[in-house]
Symmetry: C2
Subunit: 239 residues, 2 copies
């Protein structure tokens, strides 16, 4: 069957869609492609990623984490395998396949990423709908789109938005994050009941003060695993 090792091997990369959010918008971290004659898509913006280092990377996830760390200095954000894309045309150098991951980064990690002295020019781009304004290298636009769609669809039935929050936050801030991701307002009471009756958050003995009634601060009970709700929250009907 497989007169195996003689098959030409596809180029293999790992790319990471690193997402974070301001109070207004979802953002993605992109890096600029090198400007060299032998590099495809020179100077264009692209997802952080690149070839697997078979000497350093024990497995695919380790490779994704390495790239994440190199670009942002962040060790352990929420990380999920997104899918893989491979075909004959996506890379002008030949048949190539990429293993894509997506990472969510809270406010503290986001600032750390901003301070990180990367070897490559890197910048946060606002995500509108499911794309950035720039045309990206390779099929990275498509991969970004898949990541954003995955995140958006999971917002309705998981606690993923929690991984985009700072370490302490109010319920209103948490609701606002959901609304930014969904692009739609949510019903306050339904949101609060849902969140508070789940085992997602715990109170911290502090309030956020302002020119109004202070708001209870909460933090995540489990910084690693998302929780799954068994009914979606959608705000108004989708029809």
């Amino acid at each position: 069957m497989s007169r195996n090792l003689t098959f030409p091997r596809p180029l293999t990369t790992v790319d990471v869609v690193i997402l974070s959010a301001t109070t207004n918008a979802l953002e993605v971290l992109l890096v600029r492609r090198p400007d060299a004659a032998d590099e495809p898509y020179p100077k264009m913006w692209a997802l952080p990623g690149g070839f697997i280092d078979t000497a350093k990377d024990a497995d695919l996830e380790a490779c994704a984490l390495r790239k994440l760390k190199e670009k942002t200095g962040v060790q352990a954000p929420y990380l999920e395998q997104l899918g893989s894309w491979g075909n004959a045309k996506r890379d002008p150098r030949g048949w190539s396949a990429t293993h894509a991951y997506f990472a969510l980064m809270g406010a503290e990690d986001r600032s750390r990423a901003n301070d990180h002295p990367g070897s490559q020019e890197a910048q946060w781009f606002k995500v509108e709908e499911d794309r950035v304004k720039e045309r990206l290298a390779f099929d990275h636009g498509e991969i970004l789109k898949a990541a954003v769609q995955r995140l958006r669809s999971k917002v309705a039935y998981t606690s993923l938005p929690a991984f985009l929050m700072p370490s302490e936050f109010t319920l209103s801030e948490f609701q606002k994050m959901h609304e930014v991701l969904l692009g739609r307002t949510l019903e306050k009471k339904a949101f609060r009941t849902r969140v508070l009756t789940s085992e997602l958050l715990e109170e911290v003995p502090r309030k956020k003060e302002g020119a109004n009634r202070p708001a209870q601060l909460y933090r995540l009970k489990n910084k690693r695993r998302p929780i799954f709700f068994n009914r979606p929250i959608t705000g108004s009907a989708i029809d």
Copy 2:
């Protein structure tokens, strides 16, 4: 950054977890590894799959479909990307990564697969819990487990079980399929209401006769896309 093309390229394969079901159990199609000196895991059972043919395969999914067709003769079953597995140890020949897919095959396609004169010994194995009795080649046991878990978790909130049914079936048979996959009985009324109020099925003008009241036969409205329910069906509570 990437002094790229000089990196050693991992071995790259595509594997397919082909699932079908009898009225009693979920089953998976496995093939026997060749018995040759230069082949790893000789004579062991493994998932159908193998190297990408960069000349023939336009993309990863085309490669998965090609392997599916080669092993079963089936053209277009339900096919979904499952994930990728890659590390230094899974293949003794070196750093390797596989892109895994999973396919669901209805009764007719299942018989067609049985009749298909494959180039390699192939056989259906009963899946118990989330494994087969045999130890599989490579990390295929782990990949199978992921496929079965994905299928099982989707049973509760999608119409995936429909893709394991024959082209016409009764609601009782459909319910039984759910029960086989979940390993738990379901409440008849809740099941029927859920299915019938969705847009999943349409009646065919025929009944299934037996030594009892004849049952209405139904068929899938859309043979390609699953539908998503917005509440899970679980039978008894999960606690």
